[in-house]
């Protein structure tokens, strides 16, 4: 099989597979739901429940 005509695609293909493998090992979803990180204890966030906050440590 002559791979010369698709040498650039091969690089892209390896990148896709590499990223897929990395994502599989890290548990990385390509399309995760919208997440806000570290909102709970920075004091500028209120939840729709409008109720007590939980504090740790």
């Amino acid at each position: 099989m002559n791979l010369k005509p698709i040498k650039y695609y091969l690089i892209l293909l390896l990148a896709f597979i590499g990223f897929y493998g990395y994502s599989g090992l890290k548990g990385r979803a390509y399309f995760p739901d919208k997440v806000e990180k570290n909102t709970e204890f920075n004091g500028n966030k209120s939840h729709s429940g409008h109720v007590n906050r939980f504090y740790h440590k």
Partner: protein, 437 residues
């Protein structure tokens, strides 16, 4: 002292034209039976080296010969000499092409045909040691287990000629059929005189190969126009190579998918129906928030899928879920709503929404976690919220997305290849692309 190499070819001889008395150079005097006078363009039957008779008067060639008579070249490891030049056209059409008859000392005649700057090296069975008779399937033929598709049918007519041949090339009447499987072509010739069928195998040659073989400047060769009947397609090469490699890559991705399922199996973290209570002191729709029991993520990094469900009926429930790492208080917050409405309108029942939803968090590090849950609902009597949390869920989205991404390039190659083939078959009456589709 170095001994000069001897030519494979015999020295040329001359014969006088019986019409204009000009000398005609013969390169294969012992073999040739017909020749054309380069002065008066009389097509002559050679009776002997001293006598020839007029067979037909031909037109002067329209084109200038790019491969000179008597010039030699090495093609496919065989030494050839150009002994004749023919201008042919398709009967009742304006399609015209050129043919150079080449001879080798031990393998006989071959033809180099040129049409719109596209060259074909055409040889008969005498020249092909592994020749097998093609098998006809109507609109295609099989030759050496390859299918050749019908491309053209025509009756060739010689309009001009220079040089010599050993058969009556000008007066022979044949019906030719061309079948292609680029870069090769099978030419079927049926003699109208005796219905004898002969097959010839053609191979497309790049103009560079012709120029190199005859040691001439490529720019002196006719300029290429369009796509040759059996011109090899780079788009086809790209398509076949990308198809094979993408097929292998998709199998690899599916194997990875199975491998990840095996080495990182799904783990249920929470599976519980939680009691929720309307908070009369909170704002409208507020319910009391609550904390789930702790759970542990053992893998260095994993995803978590939360499935939330509540039997809302013509109402809604929304909840914010905060994943809290109990060792460093890092949090991941997501909100999701459930709404389910149904009814009857104009005698037809309808429904929309669902009583369950799911959310996915990715790349959550190893550690001990719990959830802070902040529900709210339009139904103040709602009293349950089902939460199921699973780590290392199968990420079909990743797998399908990767496969689709891998398929984009072969799809583009296929479109380019198809476009190329459509342009090729535009020159044929037997195009498989009916109505240009």
């Amino acid at each position: 002292m170095e001994v000069p190499a001897k030519s494979f070819f015999k020295l040329s001889e001359t014969i006088a034209c019986s019409i204009c008395k000009q000398n005609i150079v013969l390169y294969e005097a012992a073999k040739s039976k017909y020749t054309v006078c380069p002065s008066c363009y009389s097509y002559l039957h050679i009776i002997s080296i001293t006598e020839c008779r007029l067979s037909k008067k031909l037109d002067q060639p329209e084109k200038v010969l790019v491969l000179k008579l008597g010039s030699t070249a090495n093609i496919h490891g065989t030494e050839f000499k150009v002994i004749a030049y023919l201008e042919k056209k398709e009967a009742n059409t304006s399609y015209a092409w050129r043919e150079y008859i080449l001879t080798s000392p031990d393998k006989g005649y071959v033809t180099l045909s040129e049409f719109d700057g596209h060259w074909n090296f055409i040889a008969g069975e005498d020249f092909l040691p592994d020749y097998k008779a093609p098998i006809s399937y109507g609109l295609s033929i099989g030759y050496k287990d390859v299918e050749y598709k019908l491309f053209n049918r025509y009756t060739p007519i010689v309009t001009a000629m220079l040089g010599e041949v050993d058969w009556d090339v000008v007066n022979e009447r044949i019906k030719a059929t061309e079948y292609i499987a680029p870069p090769f072509m099978v030419v079927k010739e049926v003699s109208k005189a005796n219905n004898q069928t002969n097959y010839y195998i053609g191979e497309y040659l790049d103009a560079e190969v012709i120029a190199d073989a005859f040691k001439i400047d490529k720019n002196d060769l006719p300029k290429q126009i369009g796509i040759g009947a059996n011109q090899p397609s780079k788009a086809f090469d790209r398509w076949t190579a990308s198809l094979k490699i993408t097929g292998a890559a998709i199998i690899l991705v599916l194997l990875f998918h199975l491998l990840f399922n095996a080495i990182k199996p799904e783990k249920e973290l929470i599976n519980d129906d939680f009691l929720i209570v309307y908070d009369t002191k909170g704002g409208p729709d507020s319910f009391r928030s609550f904390i789930t029991p702790s759970f542990t993520l053992d893998d260095e990094s994993s995803n978590i899928e939360f499935e939330i469900a509540s039997a809302v009926d013509n109402n809604w429930l929304e909840t914010t879920i905060v994943l809290v790492n109990e060792s460093d208080n890092k949090t991941w917050e997501v909100s999701k709503g459930i709404e389910y409405y149904h009814g009857t309108e104009d005698g037809e029942s309808w429904s929309e929404g669902s009583t369950k939803e799911s959310v996915v968090l990715s790349e959550i590090p190893k550690g001990k976690y719990h959830l802070n849950v902040y529900p709210s609902s339009g139904d103040v009597f709602r009293n349950n919220l089902y939460i199921k949390a699973v780590s290392n869920v199968t990420m079909w989205g990743n797998t399908i997305t990767t496969i689709l991404l891998l398929c984009i390039f072969p799809a583009i190659c296929w479109l380019l290849m198809r476009n190329y083939e459509k342009r090729r078959w535009n020159n044929s009456d037997f195009s498989p692309f009916v109505n240009g589709e």
